[in-house]
């Protein structure tokens, strides 16, 4: 009787463990099965490289959205990585222990704030400020919902990811490296920037890749500050639409091929994410090795 219970529970634990495999399989199957027929109907090239998105005329080209996602992600990285990395260095090498006890939970809080609150903050603070500053410098724009505003907001949102992973990577570097550098006459700064930082390189890179994944997948916050115009533009002070925004904005009323094209947008996003995840795990393995 007791043995039977042991065996049954072993089975239960085993089945539960399969849940995550089942979930990933289901997600892949349903996304691809619903998205790929649309891509085939529109044509792979027309879909991926088409520059016009006009559901009313049955024209579905998502290049503007792909470029939009890449622009905003790149902007977020340019803003978020230097600040995040330097903050991580502060946390690992400069921060007094007492203050650390307060600041560390703060970075976790930064990660815990809902994206809708960030988006709201972007809408009522960042966008108007960007508009005012741009007007001050003579730019002729009428709305603060721009690539720049979205990049600033996402730059803030990826900070906790960059800080957390980079700090862990910096702390994983053996202390002997630092001591060796200082013993040879290096200043505290030189030891950190010329010895510790290069030694933690692959961990820091992994953090950046994780940040890219966060930024490209962010939806609600981006919708509220990016303007969402599906167009190709080279100007930082114009609005743009990302893949994620495209899905949320139009899914509510889309039917037929339009709906499938939106799901296909999700498929493209999913493929991007899978590639980013793969890069992340390769970098992480290399760090562990």
């Amino acid at each position: 009787m007791k043995n039977l219970l042991e065996k049954v529970m072993h089975g239960v634990f085993f089945v539960c463990a399969l849940a995550s495999i089942l979930a990933v399989a289901l997600i892949c199957v349903f996304l691809f099965a619903n998205g790929i027929p649309a891509i085939r109907e529109i044509g792979v090239l027309d879909f991926l490289t088409g520059t016009t998105w006009k559901p009313g005329n049955d024209v579905y080209g998502i290049l503007p959205m792909i470029v939009g996602s890449i622009y905003i992600t790149a902007g977020a990285i340019i803003i978020g990585v230097p600040i995040g990395l330097l903050t991580a260095i502060f946390m690992a090498f400069y921060c007094p222990k007492r203050i650390y006890g307060v600041l560390k939970p703060c970075t976790e809080l930064l990660a815990g704030i809902p994206s809708i609150v960030y988006g709201f903050f972007g809408m009522v603070v960042i966008a108007p400020v960007v508009l005012d500053v741009a007007k001050f410098f003579g730019a002729k724009i009428s709305s603060g919902s721009t690539i720049l505003s979205a990049s600033i907001l996402l730059g803030i949102m990826i900070l906790p990811t960059i800080i957390g992973v980079s700090e862990a990577a910096l702390r994983a570097v053996p202390n002997a490296y630092y001591e060796g550098a200082v013993a040879m006459g290096a200043t505290h700064e030189r030891a950190i920037f010329s010895v510790m930082l290069p030694a933690a390189k692959s961990g820091v890179l992994a953090g950046i890749v994780l940040g890219i994944g966060r930024a490209i997948g962010e939806t609600m916050a981006v919708i509220m500050v990016a303007g969402n115009q599906p167009r190709l533009t080279g100007s930082l002070l114009k609005g743009i639409r990302t893949m994620t925004a495209n899905i949320v904005i139009e899914m509510g009323y889309a039917t037929g091929l339009h709906r499938e094209a939106l799901i296909a947008t999700g498929v493209v996003l999913f493929v991007f994410i899978l590639l980013i995840n793969l890069t992340f795990s390769v970098l992480k393995r290399r760090k562990d090795a």
Partner: protein, 294 residues
Amino acid sequence: MTTEATSAAKKAVVQTSQKQPRVYGRGKARLQKGLVYGAAVLTFAVLLFLIAYILINGVPHLKPSLFEWTYNSDNVSMMPAILTTVEMTLLALVLAVPLGLFTAVYLNEYASRGNKLVNIIRITTETLSGIPSIVYGLFGMLFFVTQLHWGYSLLAGAMTLAIMILPLIMRTAEEALISVPDTFREGSFGLGAGRLRTVFRIVLPSAMPGILSGIILAIGRIVGETAALIFTAGTMAQIPGLFQSGRTLAIHMYVLSGEGLHMNEAYATAVVLLVVVLLMNALSALVAKKLTKK
């Protein structure tokens, strides 16, 4: 003349060879130090400003009428949204916690090391934790709402969220299990307890604080989630049954700020959301601290 010139030249040489490089190095170090401090100040200033801004602008709009039982276009009460959020959180936790916990138990207590299946489970979990919430939302819409014909419903939303928080619950539970010393297990086996009894009587109770702090973090994520819920739970402002649509607080806030007519109420909702998240973070940290003290 010549001696003066040479001594001046010597001085110059001495100056360049001794002072300049040192000054340069110091300047660089000072610059780097300044950048490090500047970045840290900026990061935490942004956080403080965000919280202060939302609180200052939102708290005055927290009126009792916002907590009335029914929602209508005159009074966009957030009470239905609060109750929906509670329902959604409980349901998602009921679905995800046993799954995540048992997976962690299997990986840490039952599976043999180097098991291929274990590697696959780890890879899929890692994949799950990297998927953005909008993709979960799409999947939930395709599978639960359309394929299973549940429609926009509380259950469809909760199932979607359960999958989303699964990796978080699993990872924190596993870390907690790993931190239980092997001597505990050996002691239990030595006294004649079976594996099952050891897991439930010895290992899980000692790992409880870690598991709890993971669950609390998961609550924080559920409360703040929007993108995964719009097309699974829908946006109806009512207190939903299992197969009815309902909007959580975060979605309530999205709808309000999207309409642009109720910005004050959106501020107030942001305050409630922020306070919940702050509380959850503090609680999680507190529980985790208890773990390290032991």
